[in-house]
Symmetry: C2
Subunit: 127 residues, 2 copies
DNA sequence: AGCAAAATACGATTTTATTCGTAAAACAAT
DNA sequence: ATTGTTTTACGAATAAAATCGTATTTTGCT
């Protein structure tokens, strides 16, 4: 166990990871174009960020083509778990239930999704 | 509408806010002692942080006593909502349901809490 | 080969956050 | 009033994050 594994992505890095998680692979340009939809930033800024993420080991890349192709290394699940934990502690006084209620309250969920949650809830109740 | 109102608290500021939300009021020393339980930091560091938060308008203070007494200005709810939103977007691909499932899955909830969630779920289903 | 376009490398600057030392002020107790 | 303790004010150092300009490299095309 050498590592590590607890590199906490910064805000900007998360935005980039989001895109990589979605697409599995993407070039700097791909990412930058997607980012530009919601954010103001120069191309080299995105590039630099992704290079730094590469150095940190947050992402990997294939440089056998002209254009480097990046992919996520840290998993979405681990990152979710890590950050959720912090959020629950600092923001919801340790109560995951409170977080659930907030999340459900503030955002729309489809009937299918509600059903999915119902299933999960049923399972939890049984135990 | 002068403001503003979207000052995003930093990590350290959140830790302090957490304590203030819990207690409603607290001196720097109170906060610092609480913080010290889980974190290494000098007293003046905590002081400075709280002074900065005061300047930013995140907290208020009563300085009519010897020891200043601080209180939160930004509400827990607004801050929760703000940060949850970001988290859902970047970490859960926009799906609040996924977040709910994660939160429910990773942390224990009591029967009472489960019931509370069930209620909420019932309400949502009706609509 | 020679040129233009697109991409990367890299250094530097700027901005924001965090940490802390030192000094001044406020107060309490004798 | 003097002294010691606690607190605040403030400036500065450090560290971390984000931004960007410029140079170089790679590649595709004629």
């Amino acid at each position: 166990m050498v590592s590590s594994k607890y590199i906490k992505p910064t805000e900007s890095e998360l935005e980039i990871l989001r895109i990589l998680w979605e697409r599995n692979k993407a070039s700097v340009r791909d990412v930058h174009e997607e980012l530009s939809k919601t954010k103001e930033a120069g191309y080299t800024t995105t590039l630099k960020l992704m290079q730094i993420m590469f150095e940190k080991g947050l992402v990997g890349r294939d440089d056998s083509f002209k254009t480097h192709v990046y992919h996520p290394v840290v998993s979405r699940e681990k990152t979710q778990k890590q950050l959720l934990g912090k959020m629950i502690t600092n923001l919801f006084g340790g109560s995951s239930t409170e977080l659930v209620i907030h999340a459900l309250g503030n955002h729309k969920a489809s009937p299918e999704e509600l059903e999915e949650i119902q299933q999960l809830l049923n399972n939890l109740k049984k135990q």
